[in-house]
């Protein structure tokens, strides 16, 4: 791990670029799939790139204040940071990122960084819909955090470590070594939690376009929005990489990474396409009930 700092930064930038492109493409692909399911042709999968370039290009910009201005920065810094603390590909120097900074606990808590910053920015925008969106988002987050945390605890019990790289190493050798197979209950609970994290249906009330037009980001536009859209790609991908590492044996090369993250993403997409939307209190109750019980069961089995 004695890579010189400059080189380390360079590697991280490369890693970041790859994940950004992949994350954004994933978004495009999903939109395509949605369209197809709904019987439309849909936009091309590179549509997100076009959107971002377009929004960056917008010259008019207003600000409601300093936190409003910093909100998107927080948001994307959170996304990038999260990704940078995860070792993306096992054994790869380029894709090991800054994972020496901390273990899975760091990643779990760094996820909040962007959300908090975003919430603050949205708060200063002064739009009631933003506040409502944040209230919903945070509330829902507390709920899906529970099964997620519990399944991570289950993993820690299983592997006796919080170190992501070690967890991935432990899953090497055979597909049957994956947490998915060695600890299916924890995986299921975590995947249900992922539905909430991704805020697809049925847990999309935070951004619910029909009720509170796009929720927290309502007031953001131009470069602010572009930053957020970029983040959406990176952050999504970062979460998927984390899941891949924890539950699906990690990746030893870029192709494994792409295939695995795509597959994991598809789960929430499929669920999202086929379900209507929950109200916040319903989703809270749901998360605290089904997946939490599953995760608890996973822990109990491991402890026994």
């Amino acid at each position: 791990m004695d890579t010189p700092l400059v080189l380390k930064i360079l590697y991280s930038l490369i890693s970041l670029a790859v994940i950004t492109i992949w994350g954004l493409s994933l978004g495009g692909i999903v939109r395509k799939i949605y369209a197809r399911v709904q019987g439309r042709i849909g936009p091309p999968f590179w549509q997100p790139f076009i959107d971002i370039i377009k929004t960056y290009g917008k010259r008019t910009a207003v600000t409601h204040g300093i936190m409003f201005f910093l909100g998107p920065v927080f948001r994307i810094a959170g996304g990038i940071g999260t990704y940078l603390f995860i070792p993306a590909i096992l054994g790869s120097t380029i894709f090991s990122n800054f994972s020496v900074s901390g273990d899975v606990l760091l990643v779990m808590y760094f996820i909040f960084f962007g959300q908090l910053g975003m919430a603050l920015g949205a708060g200063e925008s002064g739009h009631p819909y933003s506040a409502i969106g944040v209230a919903r988002g945070l509330a829902q987050m507390t709920a899906f955090e529970v099964p997620f945390a519990l399944s991570i605890i289950a993993i820690v019990i299983q592997y006796h470590t919080l170190n992501i790289t070690t967890i991935v190493l432990a899953q090497q050798g055979s597909i049957l070594n994956w947490t998915l197979f060695t600890n299916p209950l924890a995986t299921i609970a975590a995947l249900i939690a992922l539905l909430g994290m991704n805020m697809h249906n049925p847990f999309s009330v935070v951004l619910a376009p029909q009720e509170i037009p796009i929720g927290p980001p309502t007031e953001f536009h131009g470069s602010y929005l572009a930053l957020m859209q970029t983040n959406r790609g990176i952050f999504n991908a970062a979460k998927l990489v984390l899941y891949m590492n924890l539950f699906f044996g990690g990746a030893t090369n870029i192709f494994a990474l792409i295939i695995k993250t795509f597959s994991i993403y598809m789960i929430s997409v499929v669920v999202g396409v086929s379900f209507p939307r929950f109200r916040t209190d319903q989703s809270i109750k749901f998360f605290l009930f089904v997946p939490t019980l599953i995760a608890l069961l996973a822990i109990i089995i491991l402890v026994l």
């Binding site: 204040g65 201005f69 927080f74 994307i76 990038i80 919080l162 470069s223």
Partner: protein, 1046 residues
């Protein structure tokens, strides 16, 4: 030495000549009266001095040149001298107090007054049973007559009831006397006592029973005491203070004198009589609104306690010097305080306790009133405190558990109504009224006040050999009281100097973990004192109390014995109570605070008494070898509950939100960020004992403690999110954060304790910051309801920054210091194998986000209120400490080693370390964390993106907050556009069931039950004199059979 007979000669001689003196002038006869009492006080005082300071042995004075039984003899010993001194002194002062009444009365009240005091003198000294009867009658008859000194109908009615009740009692006394004489052939008390074996015969028992019972009836036991209450309620202040203290003292001493007659196995019944009286009088007093009757109940209760204690110490064969100390301390507390309070009642001249609120405008009198109340309750350093300490210790040693419970329960009830009264006076809204404070009435009160203070300071120094160290809090309080006239800013500086000096003074004693707590208690206070400079004017009373509180927390650290620890603990409690009470609407919360704190203190007291170690303190811990069974399970549980109450653990938390919220805003910051940690400090000592003792089941205990901790976290956080009042929100948040610390400490591992202490320090930083920022905001906007604020970021950017840093640090989001706490906690919990607790704390920490966002959003973000148009940034005095704390947080965020390394070193002596360092990376057995690098990465990414945004966005146009996209329309007005009220309605729909006020309901239920019990029990006092006579009779008969009479 003056022969005590002189006392009688003086009394009688002058009494008969009074008619003559009065012919000259009333002033002359009054002067003679004073002179007689003064000389007698002096005589008694001289004897007392001899007994205390020289090896004078008790003397017997024989009259008529014969030895008993052929003559009456008197005894002058330590006890006699003590009581006589007190009685004659109070007689002297009360005479002064009554001077105006005496001036306008006929001459005979003066004579009666002298006779009454002489009667008491006789009761105390005589060793002859029949002579005792005569003196009892003399003092009673003069009392009967004096009750009608300024006659009115109620006084007459109560006097009549008193006469028939007390007359009946004395008839019984006479009967008992004659039967004893018949059996033993002597009236000499000492001879009777030497032949006391006759008691085993049934006639012997009956006679002793009759004799003792009549004395007990005169001591007004529940329920045969309705008549006495009426007298207390109606009689004029000067007289009632004499009845309540001097007469009772005499009768009590007669009881004390004759108690050896009671066979050993019957002593517990006598104690039972006392405790019933103590408990029920205190219980009924809860319903009482008439001030004098309330004092009457309290007097009766105290006498009941005295009976109990006397009987119990004799039962236990407690060393006579110790039992004498306990009894005389309780006696003196009641004696001085009750006389003083009755005197104050005569100045106030209001019956209803609420009307006493006018005291508020007489600070001097109010302080004296408060001191008397504290003395009754047994707050240190007043005598009752020491008595309580020794008493409970002996009871615990002798395993008289039930008595401990009953005594402490009764004390708590008494504390309840006394503090309720005190609180209602301090916080009432009554208007000022003219209050006459004539010197002749004020001087006695002040003299007794000073006497109390002198005794209170004398006891710790002379009897417990306290050096100056544990008394420093009081010294600090007094110093600041002297400077109380100075402006606040100056006083804050003086306070800071005192605290700095104190820190330097105790620094050599500190080491290891006590350094951490010293940092929290003293350095934390020092910095927060800056904020108090924002107080306007002189703001009297605040700084003395604050310094007292801070120094008593320091005292906790350097206490060398259980007693010093408990002393500091109680001092801290009472000063904190007074600080809470300063809040404008703090009457109820402060009462709840002191009740729970006292309950905790009593648990601590009994726990410490059950412990087989007298060194329950961090310093003391190092000086003794710890062995198994030093802390029995009972002691452990009692002490741990005491500390759990202090930290506001779930189930005991109901005192917490109210008192944090309603205290003054800067006080809240002290309480939440500093004071609450004292519970943690205590728990740390306890756990250290546990650790070294190898106690049975200790794993089970710590596991339970862990669950209590995590549930405190969970419920505290959950309740916080539903609060509209910002201070309630933060109060619940504190509860939650302290729950984490408890959880960590309970883990009993190196990492657990490191994380607990880390969190304790971190909590000091961020909670003080947030609370001070909020205090600044409240000081500007004048409301605590968050939905009435909004958009303040532009008006108060600095406050916003510190709240922002505070909530990031609290929530545990990297890269700030809060994440360090989270990392340590989870690693510790997972290492320990506490998986479910870890899971629940993840949930709780996510919930914390909800209230934190609500906090910052509804205050600083969103739409500003039009009425806050011209709000300015908070005072720099609030901001300076906040920024110091920000600096501290930033420092430990960048360089976590700054704090974790020393903490780890401090814990090393107790647990083997499980963490190691490699450069800046911290390795646990499970994971690793490099706070330094995280900070750099985050800052790097953040700066890069910020620059990118600035470049890409170009010129931005600032728009007004209200300029928002709103379906192409403008919303109605900013006020309604600020989404703030009932912010988490959906959350309540989902999880509202968890925050139903179950605990509050439970405690309310307890309160209501007690109150209604009091309401129905007091119905026995029908007001009919005949009923009271019947009670006396029934009391007699029932007890006769209970005590095994045949």
């Amino acid at each position: 030495m003056v022969n005590p007979i002189m006392i009688f000669i003086l009394f009688l001689g002058t009494a008969f000549l009074f008619a003559l003196f009065d012919k000259i002038h009333r002033k002359f006869s009054f002067a003679i009266l004073q002179l007689v009492l003064l000389i007698n006080t002096f005589i008694a005082g001289q004897w007392l001095y001899k007994f205390v300071f020289t090896s004078q042995t008790p003397v017997m004075i024989f009259t008529a040149g014969f030895k008993p039984p052929f003559s009456i003899n008197l005894r002058m010993g330590l006890e006699e001298a003590f009581i006589l001194f007190a009685v004659n002194f109070v007689g002297l002062l009360s005479a002064l107090y009554l001077s105006k009444s005496f001036k306008h009365s006929k001459v005979y009240p003066l004579v009666l007054y002298l006779m009454m005091i002489m009667g008491v003198n006789g009761i105390v000294m005589t060793r002859d049973l029949f002579n005792l009867f005569v003196f009892l009658e003399i003092s009673s008859i003069s009392t009967y007559a004096l009750i009608a000194l300024k006659e009115n109908e109620q006084r007459l009615a109560s006097g009549f009831k008193y006469m028939i009740a007390s007359g009946l009692a004395s008839v019984f006394f006479l009967l008992g006397t004659i039967f004893i004489y018949h059996i033993t052939g002597t009236l000499n008390i000492d001879q009777i006592i030497t032949h006391k074996s006759f008691v085993i015969t049934s006639l012997g028992f009956l006679s002793v029973f009759t004799l003792m019972m009549s004395l007990i009836i005169e001591l007004k036991p529940f329920p045969a005491n309705g008549w006495a209450l009426d007298v207390y309620q109606t009689t004029t202040s000067g007289v009632v203070s004499i009845i309540a203290v001097a007469n009772s003292a005499g009768v009590f001493y007669a009881f004390y004198k004759l108690l050896p007659l009671i066979p050993h196995n019957q002593l517990l019944f006598i104690a039972g009589i006392g405790i019933v009286s103590f408990l029920f009088s205190n219980l009924i007093a809860i319903k009482q609104t008439d001030s004098r009757r309330l004092l009457g109940y309290s007097s009766i209760a105290q006498i009941g306690l005295l009976i109990t204690v006397t009987a119990l110490t004799r039962y236990l064969h407690v060393k006579s010097s110790t039992s004498l100390f306990i009894i005389s301390s309780i006696f003196l507390s009641n004696f001085i305080a009750k006389a003083g309070l009755f005197w104050i009642a005569g100045i106030i001249k209001k019956t209803h306790i609420k009307e006493w609120a006018i005291l508020r405008f007489k600070p001097g009198l109010l302080i004296i009133f408060g001191v008397f109340i504290f003395a009754l309750v047994g707050i240190p350093p007043f005598p009752n405190f020491w008595a309580k300490w020794d008493l409970i210790r002996f009871l615990a040693l002798s395993k008289l558990h039930i008595w401990i419970i009953l005594i402490l329960l009764g004390s708590l009830l008494e504390a309840f109504y006394l503090f309720r009264w005190f609180g209602s006076i301090v916080r009432s809204e009554q208007n000022e009224e003219q209050l006459l404070q004539p010197a002749y009435k004020t001087v006695p009160i002040i003299i007794f006040f000073l006497l109390l203070i002198i005794i209170s300071i004398g006891i710790p120094i002379h009897i417990y050999q306290f050096d100056i160290l544990p008394l420093l809090p009081i010294v600090g309080l007094l110093i600041l009281s002297i400077f109380d006239f100075l402006p606040s800013k100056l006083k804050a500086i003086i306070s800071m100097i005192i605290i700095a000096g104190y820190t330097l003074y105790i620094y050599p004693v500190l080491s290891g973990v006590s350094l951490v707590f010293a940092f929290i208690f003293l350095a934390g206070s020092f910095i927060q004192l800056i904020a108090t400079m924002s107080r306007k004017g002189t703001d009297k009373g605040f700084f003395p109390l604050l310094v007292g509180m801070i120094l008593s927390m320091g005292s906790l650290l350097v206490a060398r014995s259980s007693l010093e620890f408990f002393f500091a603990w109680e001092l801290m409690t009472i000063t904190a109570y007074m600080l809470v009470l300063r809040g404008r609407k703090a009457e109820k919360p402060a009462l709840l605070f002191i009740l729970f704190s006292l309950a905790g203190a009593y648990l601590l007291l009994s726990g410490l008494s059950y412990a087989h170690v007298i060194n329950f303190s961090l310093v003391g811990l190092g000086t003794i070898p710890i062995s198994a069974h030093m802390l029995p399970i009972t002691a452990f549980i009692l002490i741990v509950v005491a500390f759990l109450i202090k930290v506001g653990a779930v189930g005991f938390h109901i005192w917490l939100p109210g008192s944090y919220a309603e205290a003054e805003d800067d006080t809240t910051s002290f309480m939440s960020s500093i004071l609450s940690k004292t519970g943690i400090f205590g728990m740390l000592i306890l756990l250290l004992f546990l650790l070294k003792m190898n106690m049975h089941h200790s794993a089970l205990f710590t596991s339970m403690l862990g669950w209590i901790g995590i549930f405190t976290v969970f419920f505290g956080s959950l309740m916080a999110i539903f609060q509209e009042d910002v201070k309630y929100l933060l109060a619940y948040s504190s509860m939650g954060q302290l729950g984490y610390i408890v959880l960590c400490m309970a883990a009993m591992s190196h990492l657990g304790w490191v994380s607990g202490l880390y969190l304790a320090v971190n909590h000091l930083f961020f909670k003080a910051m947030i609370l001070l920022a909020v205090a600044g905001v409240i000081s500007r906007v004048g409301t605590r309801n968050m939905y009435e604020m909004g958009g303040l970021i532009k008006k108060m950017p600095y406050s916003f920054i510190s709240v922002l840093i505070g909530i990031i640090a609290l929530s545990g989001v990297p890269p700030l210091s809060g994440f360090g706490a989270k990392w340590l906690i989870y690693t510790a919990l997972l290492e320990k194998g506490w998986y479910f607790r870890a899971g629940l704390s993840f949930f709780a920490s996510a919930i914390a986000f909800l209230y934190l966002f609500r906090l910052i959003h509804t205050i600083f973000l969103g739409q500003p209120k039009p009425q806050h148009q011209n709000v300015k940034e908070a005072s720099p005095f609030f901001l300076i400490p906040q920024f110091l704390f920000i600096f501290a947080i930033m420092a430990i965020s960048m360089f976590p080693n700054l704090i974790i390394k020393p903490l780890s070193t401090f814990i090393n002596p107790y647990f083997a370390s499980t963490i190691q360092w490699q450069g800046n990376t911290l390795y646990s057995s499970l994971g690793y964390w490099n706070g330094n690098l995280v900070m750099y990465v985050t800052m790097g990414v953040f700066m890069l993106l910020l620059i990118w945004l600035i470049i890409s966005i170009g010129r931005v146009q600032k728009v007004k907050q209200f300029n928002i996209v709103f379906a192409a329309e403008r919303p109605f007005k900013p006020t309604t556009t600020h989404f703030a009220h009932n912010f988490y309605a959906h959350y309540k729909r989902a999880l509202g069931t968890f925050v139903r006020p179950v605990t509050t309901g439970f405690w309310n239920g307890v309160g209501e039950w007690i109150s209604s019990a009091a309401g129905s029990i007091r119905q026995i006092y029908s007001g009919n004199g005949q009923t009271y006579v019947l009670y006396i009779l029934l009391y007699f008969i029932v007890l006769y059979f209970i005590m095994g009479g045949k």
